[in-house]
């Protein structure tokens, strides 16, 4: 019974901790992990007093708590980097390129098979300038296999440049400088019974 209650408490706590972690995606990784661990520890301490469910309830609105942590990290009105925007930029470039590649290859295939649906032979597609390298299509009775057609390095440059600009990653530099200024934590052993 006590074990099941403890398990339930842990589940309540972990749910709150990971919900908070998701809301703190814009924090630098090290800081986010530190906040997560500290919150978990505080919730466990509170759970010993009032139970897991109540401990989580006492936190109040997790959105407010997350906003408080973000403000503590970046300041009241400072501009923050956005990992979500960076990821969105990566996905956007990826999606655009995937669609472009699919449409171009489908068009090339349609052009070949329009004249002779059951065609056999080898055909060369020059790709998309600067974005998609050339590709060789080998047809056998109207169906093809292909070699090549990779994205050029420029695509990856665009992808990461988009993530850097979209996510405003240069703002991480000031956060990193702040972190370096912070005192490093020293792990010390607590003598048993030394705390009142």
């Amino acid at each position: 019974m006590a074990t099941s209650r403890r398990t339930l408490d842990r589940l309540h706590i972990e749910r709150a901790v990971w919900t908070m972690d998701a809301r703190l995606q814009d924090l630098p990784r090290r800081s986010r992990i530190a906040r997560r661990r500290e919150l978990r520890d505080n919730l466990r301490a509170a759970a010993e007093d009032v139970g897991g469910r109540q401990a989580v309830r006492q936190l109040g609105d997790l959105r407010v708590l997350a906003a408080g942590y973000l403000t503590a990290e970046y300041g009241e009105l400072s501009r923050r980097p956005s990992w979500a925007a960076a990821a969105l930029a990566l996905l956007l470039v990826d999606a655009v390129m995937t669609v472009l590649e699919h449409v171009a290859r489908t068009a090339f295939d349609a052009g070949i098979t329009a004249t002779a649906p059951r065609i056999s032979g080898t055909f060369h597609w020059t790709g998309v300038p600067y974005l998609i390298s050339d590709e060789t299509f080998t047809y056998l009775n109207g169906t093809y296999t292909s070699v090549g057609g990779a994205w050029t390095p420029l695509v990856y440059v665009l992808m990461f440049a988009g993530a850097f600009v979209g996510g405003r990653m240069w703002r991480l530099i000031s956060a990193r400088l702040r972190q370096r200024r912070q005192t490093r934590l020293a792990v010390t052993e607590e003598k048993s019974g030394s705390r009142a």
């Binding site: 520890d41 301490a45 503590a72």
Partner: protein
């Protein structure tokens, strides 16, 4: 039933209270909350204390150290830095001088309301 306090007033003095409590004795997050509750500030939630501690740490007013705990992983204990002690002294002086002005005004007896002719 504990009296409720104005959240805006509490927010203004929370950092000062935290510095004071940590100057008296280093504590970890939940312990600070318990100490605040023991003072009668039961309406201060963990959700406002933890970010306030994080802000004080970022500002360099408190420093933290991990202390091994018997009941689980190491706990993060906070204590004021030299800058924090100075901020506490300045904040305390500022609060006391403000209270010295505000308190007498607020506890003054209000004048009796004027009686209208209909009352007589």
């Amino acid at each position: 039933m504990a009296p409720t306090h104005d959240p805006q007033l509490l927010k203004g003095v929370l950092s000062l209270l935290l510095l004071r409590l940590l100057a008296e004795r280093e504590s970890y997050g939940y312990e600070v909350v318990q100490r605040l509750h023991a003072l009668g500030l039961s309406d201060i939630s963990e959700g406002s204390v933890y970010p306030a501690l994080a802000r004080l740490e970022r500002e360099g007013r408190v420093e933290a150290r991990l202390v091994a705990s018997r009941s689980g992983p190491a706990r993060k204990y906070y204590r004021p830095t030299a800058a924090g002690v100075q901020a506490l002294a300045e904040g305390t002086a500022s609060w006391l001088s403000l209270a010295a002005v505000v308190h007498p005004v607020l506890v003054r007896r209000l004048p009796d309301p004027p009686t209208s002719p209909e009352d007589t």
